[in-house]
Symmetry: C2
Subunit: 227 residues, 2 copies
DNA sequence: GTCTATACATAGATAGAC
DNA sequence: GTCTATCTATGTATAGAC
């Protein structure tokens, strides 16, 4: 698997996202023409993510968003009923696409050792292709309303569950050491998240996606793999 | 080293903090009587950290802070000249104490292998004893003014440098494998941060400080240590 | 030193013209 | 569908009494 191939998959999926958003929010989105609606949703989301890579969602005003997206404040409110709804909408959709792509990728793996490598690599590739999205989802999760916060946590735990299952499989097949599975999955997740949370650091140091992924795989295999 | 001993060290330092804040902000803090000033600074900081464990600093209004601290809005402005200054003040002081305690602890270690274990354990203990502080410093760093943001990044890199130096020492003494040192330090930092960023998770799962620290040490030693 | 009252700015959201 | 103009709420910060 090469990063560029991966990027294409994500871009295709990215086009679907706005379609899904539209479907799932037919009640609050007032625009009738589908094509126009999707185009503008993409503009709005891109603008939001661009602004929020520099300041927080709270700090972004609707006026900011209007300037960045090139749409008027009035027009924006045809696509969501409140600023909070915009936050929820972006987050929910981001989680969905991420989860889908990740599951698809891992299904290709043969045996726990390969699945584990594939899971790590896919996640890092995915968060690279969707960096602003991942960063936004992580950092703004706490500003969600309570019920959506719950969904965000479930999603986080579900991703972790993918790794828990792979590791358990490996232990049963005697290819992995019998370590604390839950903690192992947790620290894997921590290392995966660092890639998109500390982008500035890795970029400055010219660490490539593959450098990082290979290193994480090395750490995880040193801990788990029976030689 | 036991966690409870560690907590005492931190608590002592915590008393110093407000004294330092007072000294370093003599121009903007209008209260003359030292004792009163320190007492109220502690009230203000505690209230801020308590509120900001639930919502963002931006989302916290001065009215919120007034209610939580039991001081009037007018009185609060005798301790800082703007809300942003309060943010800077808390962050700067948090960084300083954390850095000092960590350096003190590591100095006690003999040889790179022990230093590495000590560094990991101290950091996790420290972030446990000062959890709200660490969380706040991490999550609100992006809302700092540009120049303070730079200081926060420097501080982050300095902590990492501690681990880089230890690992380099270990490689030279042939007790550690010759891995990519910078990446090794980065993922160690990532695992350390997870402890205070995902507190809810570890608490729910009843993972203790020592469980976590021991596991991280296990992962790191599996990767680095030559048997 | 601390309070109450208030000025002033900015933000979210909507109404109605085009 | 999109724009401009505007209403209203909320928030920061200060002035002046106690």
């Amino acid at each position: 698997m090469i990063y560029n191939d991966f990027k294409k998959i994500v871009n295709i999926s990215k086009e679907e996202i706005s379609g899904q958003i539209l479907e799932q929010n037919r009640d609050s989105i007032k625009i009738k023409k589908e094509k126009r609606a999707i185009e503008n949703l993409i503009r709005i989301i891109d603008a939001t993510l661009a602004i929020c890579s520099k300041k927080s969602f709270q700090a972004m005003s609707i006026r900011d968003l209007s300037a960045e997206s090139g749409m008027s404040r009035g027009a924006l409110y045809s696509y969501f009923t409140s600023k909070e709804e915009l936050l929820v909408l972006i987050q929910a959709q981001g989680r969905e696409i991420a989860n889908r792509v990740l599951c698809d990728q891992i299904a290709h793996g043969n045996g726990p050792a390969e699945k584990l490598r594939l899971g790590i690599k896919s996640h890092i590739y995915l968060s690279e292709a969707m960096q602003t999205w991942f960063y936004f989802t992580y950092i703004e999760a706490r500003n969600l309303p309570k019920d959506e916060q719950k969904r965000a946590i479930e999603s986080e735990l579900q991703t972790e569950k993918i790794f828990i299952d792979i590791i358990n499989e490996g232990i049963q097949e005697k290819v992995f050491r019998d370590e604390n599975v839950v903690l192992a999955a947790s620290v894997i997740k921590a290392m995966l998240q660092d890639w998109y949370l500390k982008r500035w650091k890795y970029q400055n140091r010219k660490v490539s996606v593959d450098d990082y992924a290979d290193f994480v795989i090395n750490v995880v295999e040193s801990t788990l793999l029976i030689k």
